[in-house]
């Protein structure tokens, strides 16, 4: 079974600064996806960024980037130029990439990020 760990229950950052959220996972799979989702107080889960395990290049989406270390099973999220709207719960998630019509996400417990003015 896969497990996802987020060791930082809460973090805070000043507006315009950079923050890194940590995520580690455990799996015996070789082919999988990793995701970061954001859940603001409004509760809608929003996709932030996606990484395919077979790609060595780290994914980036505007101010969001990841540091994917496959051997270490580490997948951290870096938010640059933090904005007040980045305040949310951030969930790291793992999904096996298998052709069997039955896959699901395994989520970490989340990190509550507060961006301070």
């Amino acid at each position: 079974a896969q497990t996802v760990t987020q060791s930082q229950p809460e973090m805070s950052v000043q507006e315009a600064e950079t923050v890194t959220l940590s995520c580690t996972y455990d799996t015996s799979e070789n082919n999988y996806y990793l995701f970061w989702y954001k859940q603001p107080p409004s509760r809608q889960m929003i996709l932030v960024i996606r990484q395919e395990a077979y790609k060595q290049q780290n994914a980036t989406e505007n101010r969001f980037s990841v540091n994917f270390q496959k051997a270490a099973k580490s997948f951290s999220l870096k938010i640059s130029d933090s904005q007040l709207g980045d305040t949310a719960m951030y969930f790291c998630a793992f999904m096996k990439r298998r052709s069997n019509y039955g896959q699901n996400f395994v989520f970490g417990p989340g990190t509550r990020l507060s961006v301070l003015p």
Binding site: R98, Y101, P109, G110
Partner: protein, 115 residues
């Protein structure tokens, strides 16, 4: 392009009752997954439907059942409600390409309170 929609947004039930939650997937998606998110925790996988069949199930009792309709929309049914079933229920949709699920997109959720 309509995203994932869920109804109702909030629901209050009493112990022992039954509840049905509904989900319409994002346009073009054919797979629906359901998750339970207790307060302050990450979502837990309940089950996934594709081609109107349950394809995978998480560690949830048989009181939790579902259905997928030909238009890909889905229902989650919970029987004999317990206080511990109080949670946010999230629906996620995705597109299966040669059997492999692509990224899941989530709906706004249904908040269920069991008294």
């Amino acid at each position: 392009d309509a995203g994932v929609t869920q109804s109702p947004t909030h629901l209050i039930k009493t112990r022992g009752q039954q509840v049905t939650l509904r989900c319409s997937p994002k346009s073009g998606h054919d797979t629906v997954s359901w998750y339970q998110q207790a307060l302050g925790q990450g979502p837990q996988f309940i089950f996934q439907y594709y081609e109107e069949e349950e394809r995978q199930r998480g560690n949830f009792p048989d009181r939790f059942s579902g259905h997928q309709f030909p238009n890909y929309s889905s229902e989650l049914n919970v029987n004999a409600l317990l206080l511990g079933d109080s949670a946010l229920y999230l629906c996620a949709s995705s597109l299966a390409i040669q059997g492999v699920q692509e990224t899941q997109y989530f709906g706004p959720g249904t908040r269920l309170l069991v008294l």
